[in-house]
């Protein structure tokens, strides 16, 4: 009969580390992580290697290719970035970040050893296991190669589980090409790598044109069996993946086997801030990886 209500103190409840999703406190919980290496790739993009500081937490941090995390520099900003490294390495991720705004312009100025906060991983990933025994075509336009690097790593690590693997990669100019130091390595793993630029310069020896051109070459003349047993992962600007997916569709690759990654504004990564909604679907929860059939059914997706 005490007329004073009891205060329920959520903050005082223990943090149940195993089940992040059931734990109220995981919402704003960030792993303290250290930037262990900063590697400039191009004028605009830098590769950061980031390692979770606490060994136990490092062990616990797992993700699937295609997922993203929220990176925070206190007082500066927090923003979503795709994880661009192999999912088999625990507690350490690589992010390839383009300088476009507040946080992304500040990051290149910090020193190795700086601590950042990371929350995640969030969102859906590419269903790599489902692709076992199948052919895979990975199509990347521009910065789209960044989220593709994780499935590429998976394919390489599990090369025997896949049949034919193609990467088609295009940028505007040769100077924008990312991860050039790794291209040879991919090829050595029996991955067919096609690179094309829109505008060649004098140093450029490869082909130039639209990304759909090499893609068409790859797809043309294959048998029905190939088309039915091929998965495609497509990342890049919306116009590009629209053309690419249309072409894949023409060759009767099932829409449910094509995957794209959408990009929207995000502030939480947890389906709360609503900023990433496409139509009324949360990109951060149902995406960023969607199969193309779902995208076709989303209003205002492309």
């Amino acid at each position: 009969m005490d007329p004073e209500l009891k205060f329920v103190d959520i903050a005082a409840q223990p943090y149940r580390q195993q089940q992040r999703r059931d734990d109220l406190k995981s919402f704003e919980y960030s792993y303290r992580a250290e930037i262990t290496s900063i590697y400039p790739l191009t004028e605009m993009e830098t590769l950061y290697r980031i390692q979770i500081v606490d060994p136990e937490e490092r062990n616990r941090f797992v993700f699937t290719p295609g997922q993203f995390l929220m990176l925070e520099l206190p007082g500066i900003d927090e923003a979503p970035f795709s994880i661009s490294s192999s999912a088999s390495v625990r507690g350490e991720v690589e992010l390839c970040i383009r300088r476009v705004g507040n946080l992304t312009n500040f990051l290149p100025r910090v020193k190795r050893g700086t601590h950042v906060g990371i929350r995640g991983p969030f969102g859906t990933g590419f269903p790599m296991k489902e692709m076992h025994g199948q052919n895979v075509i990975l199509v990347a336009g521009g910065l789209g190669l960044v989220p593709l690097r994780s499935p590429i790593a998976y394919v390489m690590e599990n090369r025997s589980h896949f049949n034919k693997v193609n990467i088609v990669y295009g940028t505007k100019t040769p100077s924008q090409l990312l991860f050039t130091h790794q291209h040879e390595m991919w090829r050595k793993d029996d991955i067919d790598l096609n690179i094309i630029v829109q505008k060649a310069d004098r140093s450029w020896k490869g082909p130039s044109g639209l990304i759909t051109e090499p893609l068409k070459e790859i797809l043309t003349g294959k048998d029905r069996d190939y088309y039915h047993n091929t998965y495609a992962i497509v990342c890049g600007p919306p116009v590009m993946f629209k053309f690419v997916c249309n072409m894949l569709n023409e060759f009767h690759i099932p829409m449910q086997k094509m995957f794209v990654s959408l990009e929207r504004r995000m502030h939480c990564g947890m389906g709360k801030c609503c900023r990433c909604n496409v139509g009324s679907t949360y990109t951060c929860l149902k995406g960023p990886v969607f199969d193309y059939w779902t995208v076709m059914n989303l209003k205002e997706a492309i």
């Binding site: 009969m1 005490d2 007329p3 004073e4 209500l5 009891k6 205060f7 329920v8 959520i10 903050a11 999703r21 109220l24 406190k25 995981s26 919402f27 704003e28 960030s30 925070e72 520099l73 206190p74 007082g75 500066i76 900003d77 927090e78 923003a79 476009v100 705004g101 507040n102 992304t104 700086t114 601590h115 906060g117 990009e263 929207r264 504004r265 502030h267 939480c268 947890m270 389906g271 709360k272 801030c273 609503c274 900023r275 909604n277 139509g279 009324s280 679907t281 929860l285 209003k299 205002e300």
Partner: protein, 348 residues
């Protein structure tokens, strides 16, 4: 469910029990408008006379007590180029919401679905929600209320006790043990048969007082079919893109996050600020690309989220029909009119 009856003057006593030991929030008069009509707002109260039991509707919902317009998600201490993060859920004592109308209770129930019961619960909301004792109270329908169409004119759960004015005495539904214990501090009676009859009469009478309506039949599909409709442009031309509708809505929860550094460089803050999907930069991303640059596309999105997307996810709409948005909108854009126009356009 347990029911009780008590005499009018007991309510004051109950209030005094509440207030003597707890923080109480209720509807008060915040000012008078140009026609000398009272303007109501939820506010901390300590004096029973301040509370307006017969308030029509508050301009703003009790939002700031569960979804503050601005809230610190975290503070950082910055020292020697390193940082430590402190998190507080910004509440330190329970709160009694006294006299919440059914629409506002239902609004909380809807918010619970996203903010409490979805994959990632939001602790800032949960902390407040778990420390909230709700005394519901029946309302007099206003001309702008269309809650009946949204099925939110009565509250079935989401409160601790719910009081209905039967004229001379109060009829109370008791949902929680805490509420039951509180009621022990005043004199209550078991309701008699005639009390139940009277209660039914009051309910029946109130039901007839609702005037505004929205036809929600097949609304999700109609919205999909009319996605390209020019009617949206008509409303978009009127919209001021000022965000008022979302600010006054008891169920709108979108937000943005801002990080700031203290001027002495010794600390930093991460602040959550409620946003509105009608604002121009809602879907703008770095580099300047805007996924919804036109006013009408944003206005449309608001209706999509509330009346289609939410239905898809939770089988109910994210609108309780309180009519606040329409009342506060300077351009006079109201939910019933918008939905009616979309529906009419489909029929053409």
């Amino acid at each position: 469910m347990i029911f009780r009856i008590f005499e009018k003057e007991e309510l004051k006593k109950l209030f005094e029990v509440f207030v003597a030991h707890n923080r109480v929030v209720g509807a008060v008069e915040a000012g008078r408008d140009r026609d000398d009509q009272p303007v109501y707002a939820f506010s901390d109260v300590s004096d029973y006379n301040e509370i307006k039991l017969d308030y029509s509707i508050t301009k703003l919902p009790a939002k700031r007590f569960f979804l503050p317009f601005k809230e610190e998600l975290a503070t950082f201490r910055i020292e020697n180029d390193n940082w430590t993060k402190d998190i507080s859920y910004n509440i330190d004592r329970p709160l009694i919401l006294f006299g919440l109308h059914p629409c506002d209770i239902n609004a909380l129930n809807k918010l619970d679905k996203v903010l409490l019961h979805s994959v990632y619960p939001m602790p800032y909301y949960a902390a407040k929600r778990k420390n909230m004792f709700i005394v519901g109270m029946n309302c007099v329908p206003q001309p702008s209320c269309f809650c009946r169409s949204m099925g939110t004119d009565t509250a079935l759960h989401g409160f601790d006790m719910f009081i209905t004015d039967l004229g001379g005495r109060y009829f109370v539904e008791i949902l929680t043990n805490t509420a039951f214990n509180f009621l022990r501090h005043i004199r209550t009676m078991e309701p008699m048969e005639e009390d139940h009859i009277l209660y039914m009469k009051v309910v029946e009478k109130r039901k007839k007082e609702f005037t505004a309506q929205v036809d929600t039949t097949d609304l999700t599909k109609i919205l999909d079919m009319e996605f390209q409709s020019d009617v949206w442009k008509y409303w978009g031309d009127r919209c001021l893109a000022c965000g008022t509708c979302a600010s006054v809505c008891p169920t709108c929860y979108c937000y943005g996050v801002e990080e700031t550094v203290d001027i002495n460089l010794k600390g930093a803050k991460k602040t959550k600020i409620l946003h509105s999907c009608n604002l121009i930069d809602f879907a703008e991303v770095a580099g300047g690309h805007n996924f919804r640059p036109e006013r009408h596309s944003r206005l449309k999105y608001r209706y999509y989220h509330k009346h289609r997307g939410f239905v898809e996810a939770f089988e109910e709409s994210l609108c309780v029909g309180c009519g606040r948005c329409g009342e506060s909108c300077l351009a006079g854009i109201t939910v019933p009119e918008v939905i009616e126009s979309i529906r009419a356009d489909g029929k053409e």
